[in-house]
């Protein structure tokens, strides 16, 4: 039981990588990259978790009550926001690739040449 969260994180990352390697569509590839990234969320939140501890927000319960690690939660929070914008950037690149080469299959893409 105590190794399950780390196994889940490793499995998510591996599944994402498998999707990236075997992908036949760039949008699918970007989605797989997001799966890889969610492995980091699982890992970070699992590192910060503690049994019998509440959220690190001392509004309802006074400061001093046991709380989980807020630092990793802050990392995950910014990670999610940056991940969303980077996904948008990648999808914008996909749109340009489709316009330039007419294909969204990573395995059919050839290097771009000037005046080609």
């Amino acid at each position: 039981m105590s190794v399950l969260p780390w196994c889940v994180a490793a499995w998510l990352f591996a599944v994402g990588i498998y999707g990236v390697v075997t992908s036949r569509h760039y949008v699918h590839l970007v989605g797989c990259l997001s799966v890889c990234q969610s492995a980091t969320y699982v890992l970070l939140l699992a590192v910060g978790f503690h049994w019998n501890a509440g959220p690190p927000i001392f509004y309802d319960h006074p400061p001093g009550t046991p709380a989980v690690d807020p630092v990793v939660q802050a990392l995950v929070l910014t990670d999610i926001v940056i991940g969303a914008t980077v996904t948008a950037l990648l999808l914008a690149i996909v749109v340009q690739v489709q316009k330039l080469s007419g294909s969204v299959d990573p395995q059919r893409l050839r290097p771009l040449r000037p005046n080609a």
């Binding site: 400061p63 914008t85 999808l91 690149i93």
Partner: protein, 257 residues
Amino acid sequence: MRARWRAAGLAVSTVALLPAAWSVIVAMPSFGEHVSPYGAAVNAVVPAARHVSNMVAAVNFDLRGLDTLGEESMLLCAVTGTVVLLRGARGEETSGSAIRLPGRAIAQRSDATILICRFAATLLFFFGVYVALHGLVTPGGGFQGGVVIASALLLLYLGEGYAHWRSIVRGRVLSVLEGAGALLFVLVGLIPLAFGKAAFQNILPLGTFRDLYAGGTMVVVNAAVACAVAGGFTLILLEFMEETRAPETETEPGEGG
């Protein structure tokens, strides 16, 4: 053929890395029983030292403010890159008509959709502002609130259609929001230097614990992040929406979308 080689490479590296991954997994501290000294120190010290009740926001906007500034610049870069890529290839001109695929039916929006979207978008917008404002007190903050505000604006598009949406949501305002948010963040970091203090030092009065104004400069940084995230995300949505517009040369009537 190349695909097969790639899959074989993946299989080989998986087999090679599996024992390494397993030894790391076994060596990790037991789940839920390890207390990190840094997090415990933050939980113990910050409520009294900074008068805020949301530790996650305190870490983001004060204790590790420099980190968040880095993430803020990544946000700015990613949004700028998306806008440059899409707008650079498309051009600055915008047209009101959508690209029409021949043979695809144009579904009319029902009155119920318009009504529900107007209600829901308004509620969601104010919920986003609420989440952002109370970020230092209860769960929430500029990042979450900004994303909620951006989704409220997208809901407005669903209800009103493209032309009305563009007349409400101005691209220039969004760029200014995004840029001004990032600039405000940098200023909060630099202004203490002018007074001979350390960068990102909390120089404003700290306010009262569990109050809307609590945390000094964190309030300003929180607002800056909310502006930047709301502006940046809506700008991305707007640029992708522009991709579905027909070029100016085709003059098809209709509002579409």
